[in-house]
């Protein structure tokens, strides 16, 4: 069974919400990423998203733009990321989702990507620049290999679009909390819970909320209305502050375990 599905089954049985964390793969290095993923699992993270850096990240704010640029400079490629996932699989069974703009994967070859990703232990993929309408080729390949494609919904999605997204998305639906790019926000829009209810009326699939989430309080509030909470930029900032120091993993663990407790209502 796909690890994402397994995780949501267990969470639902335990009546717990999912804590999902995004990190840019290869920031500050691939070796660091491999260690950080294990630390994330130890500190209560349920699912990890590994960001594949891209030269033109149009849906990302400054934090992830910079981490992507740094990662590319240090030589990160999709190929190396897959190799790292394979290494991680020797030590951990945490669900891993690749989050990538379409071009690096398209260039790698869609079918080859799906095959290699699954072989290395990747469970799902998210493409911020791929709406369901354009996904036929990827979906065909992914279905054959049981790779989950997760689609995004946003505050501007009409009900008609939400139905399409819900039908295509596998594992869960990624609800973008705000109209904007990624990046930690001090305050989140008040319409989140209303919009999640709108999606929930159209589907039984889990709905997880990302973009802008940066602290315990926001995570706790969202976990009351959604099935999962996704953070990215706030953690990337922590990684940036501790880059090159021996305290890196400890700082990551401290930050994520506090938010994990909020999400898991502990």
């Amino acid at each position: 069974m796909n690890r994402i599905k397994k995780t949501f089954n267990k969470l639902s049985k335990d009546k717990r919400k999912a804590f999902i964390v995004y990190i840019t793969a290869g920031y500050p290095s691939m070796a660091a990423t491999e260690k950080i993923v294990l630390e994330l699992e130890r500190s209560g993270v349920d699912i990890v998203e590994l960001g594949v850096p891209f030269s033109d990240p149009m849906a990302d704010g400054l934090t992830i733009q910079r981490s992507s640029e740094r990662s590319l400079k240090s030589g990160t490629t999709l190929h190396k990321i897959l190799k790292s996932v394979k290494k991680i699989r020797g030590k951990s069974q945490i669900p891993i989702i690749l989050m990538s703009y379409l071009n690096p994967v398209y260039h790698y070859g869609v079918e080859k990507f799906v095959r290699d990703a699954v072989k290395c232990g990747v469970d799902g993929a998210i493409f911020p620049d791929l709406p369901a309408e354009e996904a036929a080729e990827l979906e065909g390949a992914a279905r054959a290999q049981d790779l989950y494609l997760i689609f995004l919904a946003s505050p501007t999605s009409t009900n008609d679009r939400l139905k399409i997204i819900a039908r295509h998305s596998k594992g869960f639906i990624y609800y973008v909390s705000l109209t904007g790019v990624t990046g930690a926000r001090a305050a989140l829009p008040s319409h989140i819970s209303k919009n999640i209810k709108r999606i929930k009326r159209l589907t039984d699939k889990p709905v997880c909320v990302g973009f802008g989430v940066s602290n315990e309080k926001q995570a706790r509030d969202i976990s009351r209305v959604a099935d999962g909470v996704i953070i990215g930029s706030a953690l990337i900032r922590v990684i940036g502050e501790n880059e090159g120091k021996s305290t890196l993993n400890k700082a990551v663990g401290k930050f994520t375990s506090s938010i994990a407790k909020a999400v898991h209502n502990e």
């Binding site: 030269s55 033109d56 640029e69 911020p128 501007t156």
Partner: protein, 390 residues
């Protein structure tokens, strides 16, 4: 007629954008199709093109140029004579009229050479809209005159410091603004690039160039031309000229920026040297490395300095409807100098690429042949750059 319903020209085009933009693109498409059928919209658009922008532009028989090369008769489509000095205003007036219909009073745009930025600032001032233009820091230096012109018309020019600090990153930044302010804002994209419906819509607005040229050459010569030549960055002036001749027996030649030479890495010859990929919302040719990362480009002309190209051009290339050649920086400067000296017309560096190509092609043809070159803009903005090189 292409594109099809989903915005594809053959296998190129589509809508590869974040979900947040999808409903705005749907709205834009609906509004555009509605406007296209509305005689009132067409009348208004034609009015502003004629009375404000200065259409129709002349199709000028370049007597001296023709004489010099002793070959084909060379005509210049004088888009450089339009208000703001380039073809870009055809599109910005059209899009501003649409924005007003959608009640979106905040306007954003990207710009490379600054010509699209100036044309957007102009239309925004004319129609009383708030306007913000994203421009790469590198381009702001290269095109300081245009930065000042935009400011004079009340537009805020926002420097883009990420990535290559040129047009590619200006588009990224404008898309980020649009995702954030989607409900109040219309993005006036300046070329036949981006997600559907932009490539189609911008082509339609720019096709006034080719429609006029077609009627003008039939009147003047009693027949269609043999060749159309135009420079290709994103590809809007070339597509505007080519499209109305699509079904005619007329050859299309797109001229890309060869920069320091297409065997180096410093060029912007996307169709000649690129591969198929996805950038800025559509599937088209892109310049990319072996990992699918988008390359930095180089051209003496900021307006051609872009690693992508409109999907309809990709379709023309793949189907063989058009051919594409590269002209490098030095050759473009030679074209620039030549047209200034022998016709008394100072072209922008972008169409100077096409002028140079015309000088290579004309001598190979007979005196019965006809070439039309799109002179997409005038060269005032480039004086400082040219001074450095000549």
């Amino acid at each position: 007629m292409l594109p099809g319903k989903r915005g594809y020209f053959g296998r190129f085009g589509g809508k590869y954008v974040p979900e947040t933009l999808m409903s705005a693109l749907d709205e834009l498409e609906r509004e555009y199709l509605k406007a296209k059928k509305n005689p009132g919209f067409k009348k208004e658009f034609d009015f502003y093109l004629k009375k404000y922008a200065g259409r129709p532009t002349p199709l000028y028989f370049a007597r001296n140029l023709t004489k010099k090369f002793k070959g084909a008769r060379i005509y210049l489509k004088r888009e450089d004579l339009l208000h703001t000095g380039a073809h870009k205003i055809n599109n910005t007036i059209g899009q501003l009229l649409l924005a007003k219909r959608m009640k979106k009073n905040r306007i954003i745009a990207e710009t490379g050479a600054g010509q699209h930025g100036v044309a957007t600032a102009t239309a925004a001032a004319l129609f009383g809209c708030e306007c913000h233009v994203y421009m790469g820091q590198e381009d702001m230096k290269r095109q300081a005159l245009n930065v000042f012109r935009m400011a004079l018309m009340g537009t805020e020019v926002i420097p883009v410091t990420s990535g290559s600090k040129t047009l590619k990153d200006a588009i990224n930044e404008t898309l980020r603004d649009w995702v954030t302010n989607i409900r109040t804002t219309h993005y006036v994209l300046g070329s036949v690039v981006g997600p559907h419906p932009y490539p189609k819509m911008v082509r339609d607005f720019q096709s006034v160039i080719g429609k006029e040229a077609r009627a003008q050459i039939l009147k003047e010569e009693g027949r269609l031309p043999d060749y159309l030549l135009a420079c290709v960055g994103g590809g809007s002036n070339s597509m505007g000229l080519f499209y109305p001749f699509f079904k005619d027996k007329v050859r299309f030649v797109g001229v890309e920026a060869g920069g320091a030479g297409i065997s180096s890495s410093k060029h912007a010859a996307t169709l000649i040297k690129g591969g198929i990929g996805i950038l800025h919302g559509s599937k088209s040719y892109v310049l990319q490395d072996s990992d699918g990362q988008i390359n930095f480009t180089h051209s003496i002309s900021a307006g051609l300095d872009y690693p992508g190209v409109g999907p309809e051009h990709s379709f023309y290339k793949k189907s063989g409807r058009a051919s594409y050649v590269a002209v490098n920086d030095k050759e473009a400067l030679a074209g620039f100098k030549m047209l200034s000296e022998i016709e008394g017309i100072i072209p922008a560096l972008e169409p100077a690429h096409a002028i140079y190509q015309a000088s290579k092609l004309a001598p190979k043809l007979s005196k019965k042949n006809i070439i039309i070159v799109c002179l997409s803009g005038r060269g005032d903005k480039d004086i400082d750059i040219v001074k450095e090189y000549l």
